[in-house]
């Protein structure tokens, strides 16, 4: 089998580019810890309240340290439970100061859902029996729509929320 000289150069260039891509994302993943969401923690989806994060009083936004927050969420068809506000009304908007580090932790009570804070890198699958989590810094001010981006049934497009970075 014979390769033309130009084909050799082309394949060398192409493969070198692929290696560069892999080195960049590999370095970011293994040394900087920016793997995609890959939590290995499990939970009994029929009894999620046994897990601290998902007790009703722990849902929604909590400040854990200066500039550090966590948000616990329970997904179910077709709703995100962010806890309740002072008037016992369900929270629909999470308000976070600009520049904070936020850890989103979520699980589902029933079928598979998605969880994306549109316009950020928070984008994860939510599956029964598993816990998904992703930490990010909210760098820019603005309103971000939370969407369920994995089909979960005929009300799928009515499953949403909002993050407000101020």
């Amino acid at each position: 089998m014979h390769l033309h000289k130009y084909e050799k150069i082309w394949l060398a260039f192409g493969m070198a580019s692929l290696v560069v891509f892999l080195l960049v994302i590999g370095f970011a993943a293994f040394w900087k810890g920016t793997h995609p969401q890959s939590s290995l923690d499990m939970i009994d989806q029929n009894n999620i309240e046994a897990y601290d994060n998902f007790k009703p009083e722990n849902l929604g936004l909590q400040e854990v340290a200066d500039g550090k927050y966590k948000v616990n969420i329970v997904a179910s068809t077709f709703n995100y439970d962010f806890g309740v506000d002072k008037d016992e009304k369900p929270v629909k908007t999470i308000r976070i100061p600009q520049g904070s580090t936020v850890l989103f932790t979520i699980t589902t009570k029933d079928v598979v859902h998605g969880f994306q804070v549109a316009g950020t890198n928070v984008n994860m699958m939510v599956e029964p029996g598993h816990i998904s989590r992703y930490e990010t810094v909210m760098k820019k001010k603005g309103e971000y729509t939370i969407v369920c981006n994995e089909y979960c049934g005929i009300g799928h497009h009515q499953m949403f929320g909002k993050v407000e970075v101020y």
């Binding site: 014979h2 033309h4 000289k5 260039f13 192409g14 580019s17 316009g119």
Partner: protein, 47 residues
């Protein structure tokens, strides 16, 4: 393998051909690939 062809034209179909145009085309494609990838990577980092 080429030895089996005493015919001196054997590699003509391939090695001898002028493939300059092909080379320029694939390299444009390669640059597009690298450019778009780093564009996407930049977007990922900036978010």
């Amino acid at each position: 393998m080429a030895k089996k062809h005493p015919n001196s034209q054997a590699p003509a179909a391939n090695e001898g051909s002028n493939l300059k145009g092909t080379f320029i085309m694939v390299m444009i494609l390669g640059i597009l690939m690298v450019g778009s990838w780093f564009g996407a990577y930049w977007l990922f980092i900036s978010r």
